[in-house]
């Protein structure tokens, strides 16, 4: 059984939002709905001693996701491979999971009325392809793979690089790791 994770190299990300748009287009989202977005940090400092980097933010598919136990209909679940998904039939759009996510990864799809978020592209990874946000990136800043496979690029990067998670103090244990800029 795989354990899916993503490593995002903040040294490479240039903040172009290609991943944001690729995700929107690939998943046919209405404008204003973001399953992935890229924030910009800085430039911090004072001209010209400045620092600038970007943080792409998909759903983190946390190992201990707060958005699953709060779901009243059982629509929000976590698969054995770690991917957290929303059953669009069971979801009634109450918003509990949206409010529970500390990263703001979930939103309500206005057209469909259900909670949605990044799915690590479950439908296409089963065909052996990479998620849209990963394949679209010109800078190869996003790497997707199986943590249970020590030979996978993600596993190796976690060993060789200085990675971090966002808000680790909340105990969510995200499966998206950032290589520090």
């Amino acid at each position: 059984m795989a354990r899916w994770a993503m490593v995002i190299d903040l040294r490479r990300c240039i903040g172009c939002q290609a991943c944001t748009i690729a995700c929107q287009m690939g998943n046919d989202l209405p404008p204003g709905m973001f399953w992935n977005l890229v924030t910009t940090v800085g430039p911090t400092g004072s001209y010209p001693a400045l620092r600038l980097y970007h943080i792409p933010r998909p759903c983190f598919h946390c190992a201990d996701p707060p958005c699953v136990p709060c779901c009243p209909t059982g629509a929000s679940t976590q698969r054995d491979d770690g991917i957290v998904i929303v059953d669009q039939d069971k979801c009634i759009g109450c918003g509990a999971c949206i409010m529970s996510c500390p990263y703001g990864a979930r939103t309500r799809n206005e057209k469909l009325g259900v909670a949605q978020k990044c799915t690590f592209c479950v439908d296409i990874i089963s065909q052996g392809k990479e998620p849209y946000c990963v394949s679209t990136c010109h800078q190869r800043a996003r790497i997707f793979g199986d943590l249970d496979d020590p030979a996978s690029e993600v596993s190796q990067l976690l060993v060789s690089e200085n990675t971090m998670q966002l808000k680790p103090e909340l105990g969510t244990d995200p499966h998206v790791y950032y290589i520090q800029p």
Binding site: R11, R12, I14, G15, C16, Q17, A18, T20, I21, A22, Q24, M25, G26, P31, G32, G42, P43, T44, G45, S46, Y47, P48, L50, R51, L52, Y53, S135, T136, C137, H138, Q139, R140
Partner: protein, 739 residues
């Protein structure tokens, strides 16, 4: 390739110049999916623009049928007509103008080469008009021509991964050329490549640099001259190369002596030590590259000197055509180049002499081109194309329309060019356009420029046309891509436009190819592959990269008058210009014009690219517009505080030419005395009729810029988008736009 009726076509996205490879999935004549092509040099990436292909391809506002103006100019009343009628009427008018006034009275304005420009030049040469122009004067061409004059062909080819240092000079690949940025990042990680960025702003590329030189806009000449000084006087030059392969070494040594880093410091606003560090880093981390960027082509008056000085840096360090350095590609020796398709022999010298602006700005017009390409042809056997390299000067054409000097053009054929947003001093351009008797515009959309046209013609997008990638006809390689689907509705490619006119104006024998594919097949045929059609070539072969040959100059010499790299340029001297670059200040600056600086104390940067747009495109693509709904100007927080401007406030930016408003973003990206404004803003959701014209006067940065002779580079005519002086103040509540 087909499975379950699905074809995969090998195409390229043409929303910008990188022309990233795309695999287009087609079923029943419709595009169902577009993927990045991992086998293409772009390695399968897709920027935000490529991903919205469907929104663009199917957008309800696309012009899909030929339109003829039905009311007054700018009234927005259109009559849908057939292509035949459009071509009949336009060609009749062109014929009439040629007979009454002369072929030179017809101009053509083009854009950033998403068109088949050899076809344009072919038609115009056969027709007899030399007055073709693009935005080439602010895009690579001035640099190309000066570099070609100096070393025989601009050395723009790269040779990663052996490179050890790259100078991104006025170039922001992290925002504008993303596959290239990937190459730099990979080289940095894998080979320890050093990246130097020379840019006033803390751009995305500067954020990834090892050394960032934040210079005052427009002072690149000073920076380059100071680098030459350091490299020469610290003995960091390539002795062997300058002794054996350079002409004018002693003159250059003496010439750059006063241009010390200490001299450059107050001009460039960069510490002398940092200037030194940059020069040393480039000269000692060999082989190295200097990667061109549009910025230096957009500083106007000092541009030529800056390009010139920058070009000499490669020579003095021996970073020319050596492994890992800047390689001189030369023309494509195997297939038919763009120049060979242009029918340049068909236009008379008398007509060429009438090229507007060529009397003053010679390097990118007939006088300079004929000299420079003449020498190039002797050595290489082929020359750069006239399209782009031998052009009329846009601002001079608009001046001619208003003053009648040297004569007043009567018609302009505009393709892939949003004239009201592309040239300096837009209000002047507007008045000039109104003087024309005939304006035809071929575009995806009813742009502000199209609203002033007499005929608007629907153009095919990149999914609907084949593309041959070869860097404006200046590369020795070719990447061939096929059309994914037939053009929808009545869209056509520009080739059909020119051929349609040509057939009606007695040029039929010169247009034997019915389709672009046939013409392209004719071009790639000499490569000698056993393919039956262009599409066949794309499927079977696709890439034609010649064997790399270093040190070609050992065999051929440099394609210059002396056969060597001309540190002292005889060609430029013959054209009446400085044979060696001397310092010239920015187009508007506080030293040369203190009065002006008192009124306009801030330094303006305009013209840089900003994701997710490209020039004036994509404002009507909702997902992209959603990410970036308003034009944003960048201002340092210290300056903004003095002016009482908060983050998100509308602010006026004003120069001597006029004023626009953009939303203020308070950021340390810019120096406290610099202001950055975005380019290309119009608002397709507004009323397109006069006087609104889609809000073209509200935030269009070219309302601020200048194409006046005193601001343009004397050599090339490149005009100033950067290094102008401006002032900023808050927009009053009642003047802020709504919604």
């Amino acid at each position: 390739m087909s499975e379950n009726g699905e074809q995969i076509r090998k195409s390229v996205c043409y929303f910008c110049h990188q022309q990233c490879g795309m695999l287009v999935h087609v079923k029943d004549g419709k595009v169902i999916e577009v993927e990045g092509d991992p086998d293409h040099p772009s390695q399968g990436g897709k920027c935000p623009r490529a991903s919205i292909w469907m929104k663009h391809h199917n957008h309800p506002a696309r012009v899909n049928y030929p339109l003829k103006r039905a009311g007054e100019r700018g009234e927005g009343k259109w009559e849908q007509i057939s292509w035949e009628q459009a071509l009949d009427e336009i060609s009749a008018k062109l014929d009439q103008i040629r007979q009454e006034s002369g072929a030179e009275f017809v101009c053509s304005a083009g854009g950033t080469q998403r068109t088949h420009d050899w076809a344009r030049r072919r038609f115009m040469n056969l027709y007899g008009s030399p007055n073709v122009f693009h935005v080439s004067h602010v895009c690579w061409i001035p640099t190309f021509m000066i570099e070609t004059a100096i070393c025989g062909w601009s050395p723009f080819d790269l040779d990663l991964p052996s490179s050890r240092c790259v100078v991104l000079w006025g170039h922001n690949p992290a925002e504008a050329y993303m596959p290239e940025m990937r190459a730099w990042t990979d080289a940095k990680r894998n080979n320890g490549l050093k990246i130097i960025v020379i840019d006033p702003r803390m751009t995305e590329s500067a954020a990834k640099a090892d050394l960032w030189l934040p210079l005052r806009p427009g002072t690149d000449a000073a920076m380059a001259l100071a680098w030459l000084n350091v490299i020469i006087y610290e003995g960091l030059y390539d002795e062997e190369f300058v002794t054996n392969w350079c002409h004018g070494w002693e003159q250059l040594v003496e010439h750059v002596q006063p241009y010390t880093p200490e001299w450059a410091e107050p001009i460039t606003w960069v510490d002398a030590e940092k200037i030194r560090a940059g020069a040393r880093m480039y000269a000692t981390n060999k082989p190295g590259n200097i990667q061109w960027g549009v910025a230096v082509d957009e500083i106007g008056k000092p541009g030529g000197a800056a390009m010139h000085a920058r070009a000499l840096l490669r020579a003095v360090t021996g970073n020319l055509d050596a492994p890992g350095s800047d390689l001189i590609p030369g023309p494509n020796q195997s297939m038919l180049t763009d120049e060979e398709m242009e029918c340049n022999e068909c236009i008379t010298k008398e007509q060429l002499a009438k090229q507007i602006g060529s009397d003053r700005y010679k390097t990118c017009s007939w006088p300079g081109y004929s000299k420079i390409s003449g020498v190039a042809k002797q050595v290489w056997g082929k020359s750069p194309p006239t399209e782009w390299m031998c052009e009329a000067h846009g601002p001079s054409v608009f001046e001619a329309l208003l003053t009648g000097k040297p004569y007043k053009p009567r018609a302009m054929l505009v393709l892939a060019n949003n004239t009201l947003l592309a040239y300096p001093d837009s209000r002047k351009v507007y008045k000039a356009l109104k003087e024309l008797e005939l304006i035809t515009v071929m575009d995806y959309w009813l742009t502000p420029t199209a609203m002033l046209a007499d005929y608007v013609l629907p153009t095919a997008d990149w999914l609907e046309r084949p593309t041959l990638t070869n860097t404006y006809g200046c590369s020795d390689f070719a990447i061939c891509s096929e059309r994914a689907v037939k053009p929808a509705y009545e869209r056509r490619t520009d080739y059909e436009f020119w051929k349609g006119l040509g057939d009606r104006l007695g040029q039929s024998e010169y247009w034997p190819w019915e389709t672009l594919e046939e013409a392209k097949y004719y071009r790639i045929y000499p490569l000698g592959y056993d393919v039956s059609s262009y599409d066949d070539f794309v499927e079977q072969v696709r890439f034609s990269f010649p064997e790399r040959e270093y040190y070609k100059y050992g065999r051929l010499g440099f394609a210059t008058t002396s056969g060597k790299v001309e540190l002292y340029s005889q060609t430029l001297e013959e054209l009446g210009y400085d044979p060696m670059p001397r310092y010239i200040g920015p187009a508007e600056n506080e030293d040369d014009d203190p009065e002006l600086a008192r009124e306009f104390p801030l330094v303006l940067i305009a013209g840089s690219g900003t994701m997710p747009y490209y020039h004036s495109e994509h404002r009507q693509i909702k997902p992209l517009r959603y990410l970036h709904p308003k034009p944003r100007m960048q201002i340092n927080p210290t300056t903004a505080k003095e002016l009482g401007i908060n983050n998100g406030d509308w602010a006026w930016i004003e120069t001597k030419r006029g004023k626009i408003m953009q939303v203020a973003e308070l950021t340390e990206i810019v120096h406290p005395r610099m202001i950055f404004v975005e380019r290309g803003w119009w608002f397709p959701e507004r009323d397109g009729r006069e006087p609104e014209l889609y809000g073209v006067w509200q935030s269009n940065c070219n309302v601020l810029t200048s194409g006046e002779p005193e601001h343009c580079d004397n050599m090339s005519g490149s005009w100033a988008n950067r290094g102008l002086l401006c002032r900023v103040y808050k927009v009053a509540e009642e003047d802020c736009p709504h919604g």
